[in-house]
C-alpha cells in the first residue's frame, strides 16, 4: 500500500495472506465465511494447484506471525471461468480452506446491486510494495471511490469493464501495489459493519511516476456467483 500506515493489530480480521512454498507471501485474500476466502484469479497464474498454497489468518506482522495467526491448507481453488488475463477481467477466485476455525471474523459480502457511491471513502489493506520497500506489518490506506467513466480516462491502454471498481486519487498518493493483489477494499456502513466491495486487481506501475487510481474486482458483480460456488461445493457432494 502506497501512502498508507501500519494498521492496528486485529483491525482487519478478515485480511489473510496467500502463501506459496519458498515464496512466502504472494497475495492478499479475504475471509468471507468459516472456510471460504476470496482472492483474485491472477495470483494463481502458473501455480494453479491447490496443494502449492496455504492461507494464513490472524496475521499482523509477516515476520512474527504470533499466537493469533492460523494457517490453513487449501482444499480447492475455483477461478472464474471467464477470467481474462489480457484485459484482467473477471479477476476473481473462490478458495475453499481444508478446515474451518471457530475464531473468525468474516467480512460481509455486498447485496445484489449494492455499490459504494463515488467519492465515498473506503479502506484498502495489504502487505504489498510501499513504493520503496516491502513491509512486514499490515498496512492500511484510505481511498476514494472513483466512477468508471472518470477511471477510464486514466487508463487509455486498458478497458475498464463493469466487473471493475476504481478507487484512489489522481496523484496516486494512496494506492495498492504489487503484493496487495487479492486483498480487500472495504467500506463501513452506518451500523459499523464492513462490506467487501473490491479485491485489489491491477493499476498503473505503482512505483513509477505513472499516476492514477487502483483498479479492483467489483465484488458486487460476482456475489451470486460466489454464493453459488460455496453452495455447490458445500452441499452438492459429487
Amino acid at each position: 500500500i502506497l501512502g498508507g500506515r501500519v494498521s492496528r493489530r486485529g483491525a482487519w480480521p478478515w485480511q489473510c495472506s496467500l502463501q506459496s512454498g519458498q515464496s512466502g507471501h504472494v497475495c492478499g485474500c479475504v475471509l468471507i465465511a468459516r472456510r471460504w476466502v476470496l482472492t483474485v484469479a491472477h495470483c494463481f497464474e502458473g501455480r494453479e494447484s491447490a496443494d502449492l498454497w496455504k492461507v494464513v489468518l490472524g496475521l499482523s506482522n509477516l515476520d512474527h506471525p504470533g499466537v493469533h495467526s492460523q494457517s490453513r491448507g487449501v482444499r480447492s481453488i475455483i477461478v472464474h471461468p471467464r477470467y481474462n488475463r489480457a484485459v484482467v477481467d473477471y479477476d476473481i477466485s473462490v478458495v475453499q480452506l481444508d478446515s474451518e476455525t471457530p475464531f473468525v471474523r468474516p467480512v460481509c459480502l455486498p447485496q445484489l446491486g449494492q455499490l459504494p457511491s463515488p467519492d465515498s471513502y473506503c479502506y484498502i489493506t495489504g502487505w504489498g510494495h510501499m513504493g520503496n520497500r516491502m513491509p512486514f506489518k499490515l498496512q492500511e490506506g484510505e481511498v476514494r471511490i472513483i466512477s468508471l467513466s472518470q477511471c477510464q480516462s486514466y487508463f487509455d491502454m486498458k478497458t475498464i469493464t463493469p466487473r471493475m471498481l476504481c478507487a484512489g486519487y489522481d496523484a496516486g498518493t494512496v494506492d495498492s501495489c504489487m503484493g496487495d493483489s487479492g486483498g480487500p477494499l472495504v467500506c463501513e456502513d452506518d451500523g459499523g459493519h464492513w462490506t467487501l466491495f473490491g479485491l485489489t486487481s491491477w493499476g498503473s506501475v505503482c512505483f513509477s511516476k505513472v499516476l492514477g487510481p487502483g483498479v479492483y474486482s467489483n465484488v458486487t458483480h460476482f456475489t451470486p456467483w460466489i454464493q453459488q460456488q460455496i453452495y455447490v461445493h458445500t452441499y452438492l457432494s459429487d
Binding site: I32, E45, M157
Partner: protein
C-alpha cells in the same frame, strides 16, 4: 542444465535418472512471440524465467508490448522475444542469443522512454553478455520482413503497433486513427447483439454468461422436451431430477435456488422439487433442520421457528414435503436431498433469522479510524 552434460544433483530441470544433457528445445507457445522467424525455444531464458508459463505472467511480458506502442525502436518486439523465448538450435540444443548490436540499439532508443515514467530498463538484459555480430559465435539479428508487431498488437495502417484491446474501443490510438476503422462486428468476425451495437465472440453465444444488453445471446439456446428443463448452460435435464440434491447439469444449475423462504410474509419455507413448488411440512421439524436451511441460504443462525397454518381452503391445492426421518445420517447433504412427499399436519415451517450472518465486525478496541483526532 547449462553445459551439454549435466550433473543432475539438484537441478529440477534435469532428468534425475542419468547425466545426459537435459537441455531440450520446445515449441514456442507464448502468444506474444508466435510470429518469430524461429519456432523452438529453451529455458531458462535471458531474463531468468524458468518456463514459458513464467514468462507469460512476467513483468517484462507486459512492459515490452506497451513500450512497442511508442515506436521507439522498429525491432523492439523482435529483441524482446529473443530474451523471453530465446531461439533453440535443434542440432546443438543450445540457446542462440541476440547480437550485442541489437541489444544496444533497443536500449539506446527505448531506455529513455521508460525513464519518463520512472521505470528502469530490465537489468537482466545487459548487452555485454551477448556476442558481437560477425564474431565466431552465432547470434540473432532481425531479418528482412520480420514483423514489428506481435500477435497481441493491432497494426495501424501507418505501421505502428497498438495493443489489440484498443481496436475499436472508441478511442483514437493509432496515429492515423485506423484502429477505429471498420469496426462493424462482421468486419471483425464477431457477432452483433440484436438491438445494440455490442459485438461479442461467437464462443460467447449460449455459454451460460449473458453478454448482450438484452441477454439475447442466452435466449433460445436449448430445445428441451416437455418433461425436461434447461440448465444454465442450456443442457436439458428431466424435471424429476431437478432439485433432488444431486448434480445432473454439468454446471450443477439444476440444484441452484432449490430452497427459499417465499410467501407474502416472506418467510415460509418452500422447496422447488421436481420442477414444482412444495411447502415444507412441520412434521418432525427441529432446530438442527432450521440451522441447515439457514446455512444453505447463506443466512445467519435461526433464532426461532414458527409453524404456520396453510391458507384456509388451500391444503388440497398445495404440495407438501416432509423431512426424511433419518435425514441426519446424510451429513453434508442439501435440504432438498432429505425430504419426502407427504404431510400429516398441514402446517408450514417459518424459520426466523434475527441475527444476519455475523460478518463485517471488527474487534471493539481502539479508536475509530475515521474519528482520529488531528
Amino acid at each position: 542444465c547449462i553445459s551439454t552434460s549435466c550433473q543432475c544433483v539438484s537441478s529440477s530441470s534435469c532428468d534425475s535418472r542419468n547425466n545426459n544433457s537435459c537441455t531440450r528445445c520446445e515449441p514456442i507457445s507464448l502468444e506474444l512471440c508466435m510470429n518469430l522467424p524461429y519456432n523452438l525455444t529453451s529455458f531458462p531464458n535471458f531474463l531468468g524465467h524458468q518456463s514459458q508459463r513464467e514468462s507469460s505472467v512476467s513483468w517484462e511480458s507486459s512492459l515490452f508490448p506497451a513500450l512497442v506502442q511508442t515506436g521507439c525502436y522498429q525491432y523492439l518486439m523482435f529483441y524482446a522475444c529473443t530474451l523471453l523465448v530465446p531461439k533453440c538450435d535443434p542440432v546443438s540444443l543450445q540457446r542462440v542469443p541476440p547480437c550485442r548490436s541489437l541489444c544496444r540499439h533497443a536500449k539506446e532508443k527505448c531506455e529513455s522512454v521508460l525513464g519518463i515514467v520512472g521505470l528502469q530498463w530490465p537489468e537482466d538484459s545487459d548487452c555485454g553478455q551477448f556476442p558481437e555480430d560477425g564474431g565466431n559465435s552465432t547470434c540473432l539479428l532481425p531479418e528482412e520482413g520480420v514483423d514489428e508487431c506481435s500477435p497481441s498488437h493491432f497494426k495501424c495502417r501507418s505501421g505502428r503497433c497498438v495493443l489489440s484491446t484498443k481496436r475499436c474501443d472508441g478511442h483514437l490510438d493509432c496515429d492515423d486513427h485506423s484502429d477505429e476503422d471498420d469496426c462493424g462486428c462482421s468486419e471483425r468476425a464477431l457477432w452483433e447483439c440484436p438491438g445494440s451495437k455490442v459485438c461479442i465472440k461467437a464462443s460467447m453465444i449460449c455459454d451460460g454468461f449473458p453478454d448482450c444488453p438484452l441477454l439475447v445471446d442466452e435466449a433460445n439456446c436449448s430445445v428441451c422436451s416437455d418433461n425436461e428443463l434447461s440448465c444454465n448452460n442450456h443442457q436439458c435435464v428431466h424435471r424429476t431430477l431437478w432439485c433432488d440434491g444431486k448434480k445432473h447439469c454439468s454446471d450443477s444449475s439444476d440444484e441452484w435456488n432449490c430452497v427459499s423462504l417465499s410467501d407474502q410474509s416472506g418467510s415460509v419455507l418452500t422447496v422447488f422439487r421436481t420442477a414444482a413448488e412444495y411447502q415444507v411440512c412441520a412434521d418432525e421439524w427441529n432446530h438442527e433442520l432450521s440451522r441447515l436451511t439457514c446455512s444453505q441460504l447463506g443466512l445467519g443462525v435461526p433464532s426461532s421457528v414458527s409453524m404456520v397454518t396453510d391458507q384456509p381452503g388451500a391444503p388440497g391445492r398445495r404440495r407438501w414435503l416432509h423431512v426424511h426421518p433419518e435425514w441426519n445420517l446424510r451429513n453434508g447433504s442439501a435440504l432438498q436431498d432429505v425430504i419426502l412427499v407427504c404431510c400429516l399436519s398441514y402446517y408450514g415451517v417459518s424459520p426466523t433469522v434475527v441475527s444476519p450472518s455475523d460478518c463485517g465486525r471488527r474487534a471493539a478496541v481502539g479508536v475509530h479510524p475515521h474519528r482520529k483526532k488531528r
